[in-house]
Symmetry: C2
Subunit: 113 residues, 2 copies
DNA sequence: GTGACGTATTCCTATATCGGAATATGATTG
DNA sequence: CAATCATATTCCGATATAGGAATACGTCAC
């Protein structure tokens, strides 16, 4: 077996930096392919291919307007990521607290008497 | 070029379901490899390989105790994911609001006069 | 319709993955 | 030190990916 398909998951789709960058660009709103190409200076075919992947997992949708293809974000599809991550938030905060304690301790030791 | 290495990123590391499952198991706390193996019924070599990937990106750390290797979560390393995702939270909520409006409208139309 | 434009697709190659099976390593016990 | 337990590593195969280059497709303007 090989790695999971990039189109199998939002998780797999956003593993690629370029695709994350494309999504970032689309936060501003609907954009034609050309705008993404010039914003990111990635070759047009590459952008199209990445958009295809993002479409397949539903992270973007496409609307034709003349010869333009306007792509827009479908942020709800990021929800699984958000939910998965949420489980770690608590553990994460606990760690931060402990780190905080540790830092305070260091600070106390560093203080001149 | 091929896909980015799984060890290049937390994003790439967690693309694999098995690795997410392993992290999920470790939320409960430090565990030896064997416990993960029996919790998830993945072969021991596979678990070890996945743990290696997770180690390389710092998502887990390892501590030896006798012949056991105790792995534990390093949730802070998920922070980049969290931050990236946060940018979409607003867009996501806006969409939800619009969806909400839409649903309310549907409901209104459905109401008998 | 012909040309120009915006986008999508195809072909290619190098690379790396996951999983299984077998085996190596390392620590512990008697 | 031999046997055993816990884990790590290696070898193998099938798979598919990202990017470049070339090209196909679809729509618009003249």
């Amino acid at each position: 077996m090989a790695r999971s398909s990039t189109t199998s998951d939002a998780f797999n789709a956003i593993a690629e930096v370029r695709r994350r960058e494309i999504l970032d660009v689309l936060i501003a709103g609907e954009k034609p392919v050309g705008a993404i190409v010039s914003d990111l200076s990635i070759s047009q075919p590459q952008v199209s291919k990445h958009l295809r992947v993002l479409s397949k997992v539903g992270l973007v949708t496409c609307r034709a307007k003349g010869r333009l293809r306007l792509y827009s974000l479908e942020p709800a599809r990021l929800r699984p990521l958000h939910e998965w991550l949420a489980k770690y938030e608590q553990a994460w905060n606990e760690r931060l607290d402990r780190m905080d304690d540790y830092l305070k301790e260091l600070q106390k030791k560093g203080e001149p008497q």
